[in-house]
Symmetry: C2
Subunit: 551 residues, 2 copies
């Protein structure tokens, strides 16, 4: 039996034409460091996106699914690129300006970027890479900044505003297949080459609807959202698309991501919502404690990217900013879970316990837990397994690369197509996710998993321990066993037997999980972003560089 | 370039499995007329939907896209049918129990319903039709009521609970094509045979997401919605699907749609939201004025189906029930517009003016206005044309009927596939729709349109006029001209010239729109639901039954 429904594809051009007409007076407000930010209406963004598409096609020769990259902060021009490029059928490739030069070069080559749109302020970052960006034919520069480092570049250099000037302000956006590529983003990944995730028009459209659902961010055109999460990071969590769909105003910090200007823009522009990672928010808290600001407009904050410390959540609650925790990754567009507490917990002591979980899955994200032996684990809030997810905005493969027609399979995807997130945790009967470990950091001991994070937290609760890192080391009998490395506080005389007894005390850690191997170290090695670098510890152990005591 | 996203279909079974797991403790509360309503959790609904699917397949032989009809009030069993039937791949056909017997018979035959699930209380309605329902093989009766009228029926009669008993509580829901038929609903239509609209899994899924977006109804599992709009009427505006997607509790009135029990269930069960047509709400208002009730929980009411009188909206505002106006039709699933006022109007005098419009289009509904000559009209809030819409939950044809493989084209659809709504109105620059007329009721005069409703309202503002109806009548020079028929108040001596001058006064009506033909009538003929029956007036004019004065 045939459905009688119209067969209308879910396209980014539709979000653009809707936002720039029905919500034509909504605004993108870009911070400039001056008192008055740059304000651009959605109607203007729509007209300029059409001009950009004409320029890309007619002046720069962009056609088919050519990749057009951006190396940009969050600002109105970046929003224009977000809509113009996919709407015309090309593919937006957001380059992460925080990546090391060699990774950026590798990624731009792998994606075969033909054009890069760059903020003037980022020219000094781009210029040294240019000799290695062999596929790039055009550089389009927007906004203030010294452009002289681009002199003599092999690629042609254009001014963004000059390209747009005089172009038609409408464009006959093509009726694309909703499953065609719209935008791409590489995961930096700690091992191996970066992996490209290619979002489709369909996945972005559906994700935008989910973001706008009341259980997720639930914003309307009566809101203004401060988009702190970068547009080069998983499409700024999908906010530019979601906001254009419903007319939410966007407050864009451009390069002014320091606590003081953030506090100033909140006070001046009065956003109702913000989206940020915990570290940025931690800095803002310190700023607000040091200098009083009127931040009363900001009542809802979505925090994700990494787990938000409960103390930070409580501190913001006190300021009247209600934090909603979320979890996701590049491969999940990123909305995977949002921690809206269930009705029965609201107003009770349980509420906070729900809010500090990673959150609850929406209908668009199916979830399952896989145990060490590949078995499915129950949703009982206790059984810990690797989280696997499935859904229309979840990746099922990685981009194959230039001239590679097939997608790149990976052990990150199960045989039946689910994404293996690499995260280990539990799911409660009512669908709340609690992540405890990265899969690579759990210790697989005799067919069971031991959480390194749990052991570390228990060790760090001891008054003599400054820091502790637990890693898996090979074991003939059990496969793997935990190695506990501890940094003692100055003047401490505690011995390993005492620490082991402390772990076993009051049921903190099950007996079979207690480490046999112990080592005192000077400091836990850390990555450039301050996370424990367990690779280094594993290597030091393997090469006999650690002084090990066996209990 | 290939997208790397998973290809996961949008299916009703996914809404079911999500709602009955993550939101397993949410409830369908069915009013029974007793103090304690029947409460069923979403987990139970999920288990029973699986049992129903097993029964339909194994006991009743339902397969493929067989049609399973329901003749039911709003209740938990109807929700089970909503999910079981499409999830197993069959097609849910909701029968409108308000239709005349001959229409019901025609519709059930046209859809070739094999099974009808009926509430016991509706057996007296169904039994007399049965001899004419030649495709129906099985009747499944649920709930209390005298079943003896079914004795001797040709179709086999089953008890709902007996069918479900002992069946497995899970079902391996098939992975269907998201564009396949899920549910159907016939428009009663004032002319010609009823027309079948067939919703797909995709259209229902997308519509559910839109309903849950903050700009539409925006509910979460912290809400309970009173679903007054019948499940046999455009899927109860999509609420059962939308609520299962996010865990919103449903309060179902069953057959207790009278003002007194509605007021009682609001006071007792404390819903936060309700969805209803104006007439029901008008009755509730009278009840609340007569008997004081605590209805403070109910803060948001979605009203649609026909335009909500501003006075009703104000009366409910005073009770703390914020009315959100919406427009839609069977062919639009039905969400077409919702009147959330724009940010700049909130708290100003303009706000109410926005709230009484039909509302604003969401991204999923494209709209255009077509003038009398087929030309596109601007969104300027003044140019009136027929509203045409396009989108993934909008119909593009009608069901062809049993054995007819093609869809049924209709003049209701434009050559490029848009739905011609038959409604005439304006759209403002910011996308707010104001409907003024049905297309069949506008007067096409010299290539321009004259609104009959505008003339009627202007006439009825005259102190001597009790009622007025304006219809188009043929005119040699202009094609059509307005005929004004008026019912005068008792003792009035006003003449037509005075009325015509009144219309022309203070710029009420443009000169070229003033009627030349006038007639005094006893009463305006009305349809069974109390609307002006202009067909009768046009026929009376054509047959010379009216006493006409030409000015």
């Amino acid at each position: 039996m045939l459905s009688t429904m119209q067969d209308v594809p879910l396209l980014i051009s539709r979000i653009l034409t809707h936002g720039s007409s029905v919500h034509g007076t909504s605004q993108v407000i870009t911070w400039t460091g001056e008192t008055e930010p740059a304000r651009r209406s959605y109607a203007e963004i729509g007209a300029r996106a059409a001009q950009l598409a004409h320029a890309l096609r007619d002046d720069l020769g962009v056609e088919g699914d050519d990749r057009v990259a951006t190396l940009m902060w969050n600002n109105a021009e970046h929003v224009e690129a977000y809509f113009a490029i996919p709407s015309m059928g090309a593919v937006l490739h957001t380059l992460n300006l925080r990546l090391p030069a060699e990774q950026l070069t590798w990624i731009a080559g792998h994606a075969a970027d033909r054009v890069i749109i760059v903020n003037g302020s980022l020219v000094p970052l781009l210029a040294p890479l240019l000799p290695h960006l062999t596929t790039v034919e055009h550089i389009v520069v927007t906004g203030p900044g010294d452009r002289s480092p681009l002199d003599g570049a092999r690629a042609r250099v254009h001014d963004y505003e000059e390209l747009l000037a005089g172009k038609p302000t409408t464009y006959a956006w093509p009726e694309l297949d909703e499953r065609s590529a719209a935008a791409m983003c590489y995961t930096s990944g700690t091992t191996g080459d970066p992996k490209g995730v290619v979002y489709s028009h369909r996945s972005i459209y559906l994700h935008s609807m989910q973001v706008n659902m009341a259980e997720s961010m639930g914003l309307t055109d009566q809101d203004t959202t401060l988009v702190v999460v970068p547009q080069f990071h998983v499409n700024a969590w999908g906010l530019p698309h979601a906001t254009f769909m419903t007319g939410v105003n966007m407050l864009m910090p451009d390069r002014f991501l320091q606590p003081a200007p953030l506090a100033q823009m909140i006070e001046q522009e009065r956003p109702t919502h913000a989206a940020a990672v915990p570290t940025i928010w931690q800095g803002l808290l310190a700023e607000l404690n040091a200098h009083s600001r009127d931040v009363s407009s900001l009542t809802q904050v979505t925090i994700g990217g990494s787990a938000c410390p409960p103390s930070l959540m409580e501190a913001f609650d006190k300021l009247g900013m209600h934090v909603r925790h979320a979890w996701g990754m590049t491969e999940t567009s990123p909305l995977g879970t949002v921690a809206l507490p269930p009705a029965h917990a609201v107003g009770t002591e349980e509420e906070f316990a729900y809010r500090v979980t990673q959150g609850r899955f929406p209908a668009g994200v199916e979830a399952r837990l896989t145990g060490p032996g590949g078995e499915r684990l129950p949703w009982d809030g206790e059984s810990a397994g690797e989280l696997e997810v499935r859904g229309p905005w979840i990746a099922g493969a990685y981009y194959g690369g230039v001239g590679v027609e097939a997608l790149r399979p990976s052990e990150k995807f199960s045989e039946d197509g689910w994404l293996k997130t690499g995260d280990v945790g539990t799911i409660s009967a009512d669908g709340y996710l609690v992540l405890t470990d990265r899969a690579k950091d759990v210790i697989k001991s005799g067919g069971e998993w031991i959480s390194s994070v749990e052991l570390e937290n228990a060790l760090m609760a001891h008054p003599d321990v400054a820091e502790a890192a637990v890693v898996a080391v090979p074991d003939d009998k059990w496969g793997e066993r935990p190695l506990a490395t501890v940094v003692l506080k100055e003047g401490s005389t505690v011995d390993f037997t005492a620490l082991r007894e402390f772990l076993a005390g009051e049921g903190r850690i099950a007996k079979w999980q207690l480490p046999e191997r112990w080592s005192v170290i000077e400091a836990v090695p850390k990555t450039s972003v301050g996370k424990f670098d367990k690779k280094v510890l594993r290597r030091q152990y393997a090469e006999g560089e650690l002084d090990i005591t066996q209990l």
